[in-house]
Symmetry: C2
Subunit: 600 residues, 2 copies
């Protein structure tokens, strides 16, 4: 028989009681974390969101409560009234915040039973499949580690909002049922019942709306906004995700940088970390050349070195030919890697060959016996040593070479750099290195459609000094675009936007859109730009990823309450799911090819 909550009101949380409370009568409410009998006594750990307290039930103190307690099992919901007592010296638990006390129970109320959970509620989930945990997500979310993540996430969004509020930003909501804003990814569509045959699209971002807010004169907009992309999911993507979305009028890039640096400092303070501002700024070209990545992890150094000039005339044909044919010979020096085995080195090579399409990974090892390695004989000891010196290395290190087209060499060595940092344990813990990557190309050539496409989106402003090139050679135009990078993750991206109708028209033209196409797709934006649009720019940050990095988690699923699988499926609610024929008739649509898979 279950008890009613009645007038039972919690006086303290389960993480609150200390020695100073000894002697008080308290009421606690929560879940049974553990029950054990010891001689006559029964001990129960009661858990709530704030912590854990040990209860003691003594049949001589209260026989009824003790009898009830004997039937308690894990995850039962209980309430107790009891007296706080100091623990005896030898039972004090220093690992527990409440470990100095225990509560002798006068009254025990059983508020709900619990079937045996399909997995134990504890942070060590080893041996428990993720599918099972996702199916019972409401139990998985009881784990203290996940609870902590979501409390952190809440604190982060509070900090964002309070910071932006003090900066006079206004949070404004934009529609979820809206029109497709073609930004490369696939839209989720919503059939309209009233306008049969027409569809809403879920927003990939509030991009156009936030620009319209600037046209409206709100000047400083933000929103913690849900966005949607119907893409084939990688492990670190979700069909819906949350952006900290911002836009400001009358600003240059430096204003955005300064604002964001202040905001990131506030966020880092939530986890007790002080960071330095301004953040380093790195033009895109430079980032690619030095780190082989547009989102380099700066927690460790290990830059890429261009040794082309040094090896142009060397005796190693592969290097010399590469340089002669406009390729680059680049190298990365792996400090302390000389102890790695030939097998480990070769596995790196085969990985890079397969994933990055390079022809080979040359290397030189520098030990107390001097330089060795397959290509040593072509270069000679002196040149080898010089190459180490130029690359900032020496005894104990390995120098890895890729000779290829510049872009390919950069990408392969950039990936190798990250892998080596992990292998060599070069990544310091609890370190947060922010970086602005700037001056991205405005457009890139898309082979499929045989035309230029916007690298960020078609509303990104060119650099003033590159404006003239927009007509002549769009590929040479740099954009007022920037990415915010943290520890090798792109956590945000933005730009100064085009605010002039004539430049937006020229941009669409450069992207191969006819006037009619531009009008049909973006007519309302083009119109808006005609009615007095101020200079403006902004940024969008990935809240999920920021929360993940700050919570020191590896998966977005650990910071999203009800995540979907990589097939965009919710294991808990079994959605998406079949709907009734009536619903489809209402919408005027029908299903052509129903997919049969195990999850449905």
């Amino acid at each position: 028989m279950l008890d009613h909550l009645g007038d039972l009101k919690r006086t303290h949380h389960c993480g609150e009681l200390r020695s100073e409370h000894v002697g008080q009568t308290v009421t606690l409410l929560g879940w049974v974390a553990k029950r054990r009998d010891l001689g006559n006594l029964t001990f129960v750990d009661i858990r709530d969101r704030w912590g854990l307290t040990q209860l003691v039930l003594d049949p001589e103190y209260n026989a009824d409560a003790h009898a009830k307690a004997k039937n308690l099992r894990s995850e039962f919901v209980i309430g107790i009234v009891g007296n706080v007592r100091a623990r005896s010296e030898n039972t004090i638990n220093n690992k527990l915040a409440t470990g100095n006390i225990e509560v002798f129970v006068n009254e025990l109320f059983v508020l709900n039973h619990a079937a045996t959970p399909p997995f134990p509620i504890k942070d060590d989930v080893e041996g428990v499949g993720e599918e099972l945990r996702l199916k019972h997500r409401y139990l998985d979310l009881r784990r203290p580690a996940l609870q902590k993540n979501f409390l952190l996430r809440h604190k982060l969004t509070m900090a964002v909002r309070n910071y932006l509020d003090t900066k006079q930003f206004v949070e404004l909501e934009t529609p979820i049922l809206t029109k497709s804003t073609p930004e490369g990814a696939r839209d989720y569509l919503v059939p309209s019942r009233v306008h049969k045959g027409s569809f809403y699209a879920l927003p990939q971002s509030p991009q156009i709306f936030k620009q319209l807010f600037m046209v409206s004169g709100f000047e400083r907009y933000f929103q913690i906004a849900r966005c949607f992309r119907d893409e084939d999911l990688r492990a670190d993507r979700q069909p819906e995700f949350t952006q900290i979305d911002m836009e400001m009028s009358f600003v240059q890039r430096d204003d955005v940088y300064a604002l964001l640096e202040g905001m990131m400092a506030e966020l880092m303070r939530v986890i007790g970390v002080e960071i330095e501002a301004p953040f380093q700024r790195l033009p895109y070209e430079r980032a690619m050349d030095d780190y082989g990545s547009d989102k380099p992890d700066l927690r460790y150094d290990m830059k890429l070195n261009d040794l082309s000039d040094k090896v142009a005339d060397c005796g190693f044909g592969v290097f010399a030919d590469c340089v002669a044919n406009n390729g680059r010979v680049k190298a990365v020096c792996a400090p302390g890697a000389a102890s790695k085995s030939r097998k480990e080195i070769e596995s790196l090579e085969s990985w890079l060959k397969q994933d990055y399409g390079i022809r080979g990974l040359a290397w030189l090892k520098y030990t107390e016996k001097g330089v060795s390695g397959p290509i040593k004989k072509f270069l000679g000891e002196d040149l080898c040593r010089e190459l180490f010196t130029i690359s900032g290395g020496g005894e104990g290190d390995i120098l890895f070479f890729v000779a290829d087209a510049r872009e390919k060499a950069n990408q392969a060595l950039g990936a190798l750099r990250c892998r080596l940092a992990e292998m060599l344990d070069m990544i310091p813990e609890n370190t947060f290195k922010f970086l602005w990557v700037t001056d991205f190309p405005l457009v890139e050539f898309d082979d499929d459609s045989a035309r230029y496409v916007a690298l960020h989106h078609p509303f990104t402003s060119p650099l003033d000094e590159d404006l003239e090139l927009l007509k002549e050679d769009p590929s040479q135009v740099r954009a007022k675009a920037y990415d915010l990078v943290l520890n090798g993750f792109e956590i945000g991206g933005g730009s100064i936007r085009i605010h002039r109708r004539d430049i937006q028209d020229a941009m669409f033209k450069a992207l191969g859109l006819s006037e009619e196409e531009a009008e049909e797709k973006f007519g309302f934006l083009l119109n808006a730009l005609s009615y007095g649009a101020p200079p403006h720019g902004g940024i969008a940050l990935g809240l999920d990823r920021i929360a993940m990095l700050m919570a020191n988690e590896k998966s977005l699923r650990d910071v999203i309450a009800f995540p979907k699988t990589t097939s965009a499926y919710c294991m808990m609610t079994d959605s998406p799911s079949r709907v009734s024929v009536d619903q489809l008739v209402d919408l005027g649509i029908t299903v052509l090819h129903a997919h049969k898979d195990k999850e449905n």
Copy 2:
């Protein structure tokens, strides 16, 4: 030729300069609100989000800037550098915050042109059709009145979040792509590309998810959540709307009331209004009997009076028969209405007959000459006067009667009460009367499906004392449900939920769901209740409506940035819209009957 923003940085807002700034050199950025030439001089009002400042351009002071200014037109985007000067005594404008000063312009930068707007940017929108304003919403949003509404809305959400944060609530996000939670309204569906033939539904509310958060032990959840209902829209509905959604564990109704009263007090402080707590509480039955409404407007009194006993034996057959047949004779006394014409009274009667299906509206008028009216002769002067006295009326008033089944009489008189309050100018301005309506019936009988349906939703807990009735006679069961009412609008509703699996099973059974149906629709919730669900309850508030009432607006469209029409259409983006065949093929669906309407 347009100027670049360059290093132009605003030193002050356009609403900021006062006499104390006289002599300073300032930089302002904004829009041209008005330009006029007066003799040699040109005056320009510059406007930004914060206000308006008068600029003066004198050709003798700066000829270039003056020449540029001659070409300015409304809504051009400009920046200026100039000197603040005191206005001469006779040009001071006390209506303007900056009316004591003007800025003599040294430099003028034209940052963008503006075509002539399709309607003037001013709060008086008379003569401008709403369609035109919705099509150019980005210009409509420039109007100071709308800007003010959205700044208020932002302040309200900040106040909500800060209040709930101090009360240890955690903001948690729930999915937008989810499973249908059948709550009466039609779902918006999203076809799945990966799981062809299956659909996500957009949430009508996060109801089940927030209950799962309680099962997870978050204890105190909130979210400012977007919700969706695919209903035929009335004037004050939108297909997507925003809820302040909350849920708490280990609470009774009084805890929810107290928390919400504190929150509403915070919100009202945003507009400078202090309110009293606790709010009045009125059981549903009482609200219907006294006010003929489950959301009575308490800014005025005018209660309904049950005069059945007094007229049961009177000479007026309609009244006597009604009472004899178990009906009620009820009346509302309209103070000061005696001056209203017979025509006005008769128009009330025909409205009530048509909209509320009553047979007639009897009335008595009390003037200095005594009581008169069509039914006077049946009742006699003495009884008439007594009925006035019982109803709290007297000379100068009219007593309106409806004799009908209790529910019908209540509804008709409830509507009449509201109409009379408007007619008689009884509604005080800037008054905010909050009210809890409590003890709603748990279920109501639905004639269409010939079964009971939940009045709120099927997760609402019965009153403890009515629990036994759930099996015997569900219609008699009262619920732990409550609505929060403000000035005659339901601004929120909630309940203590069912936290026990056995009671939830019984509830589904009372609603005519078989075990299989319950399992299929709500299996994951039923499961969750089995694993230690705490007692919990919550509420959801309509943010849009609260913002509307607090902004003193009549339409939700005045507090939603990009609203849709009553046909769920966005005039600005022209959505919903047709999509490509490829997109439909991707989703495995096809359109059966495309609707052709003027908007598409």
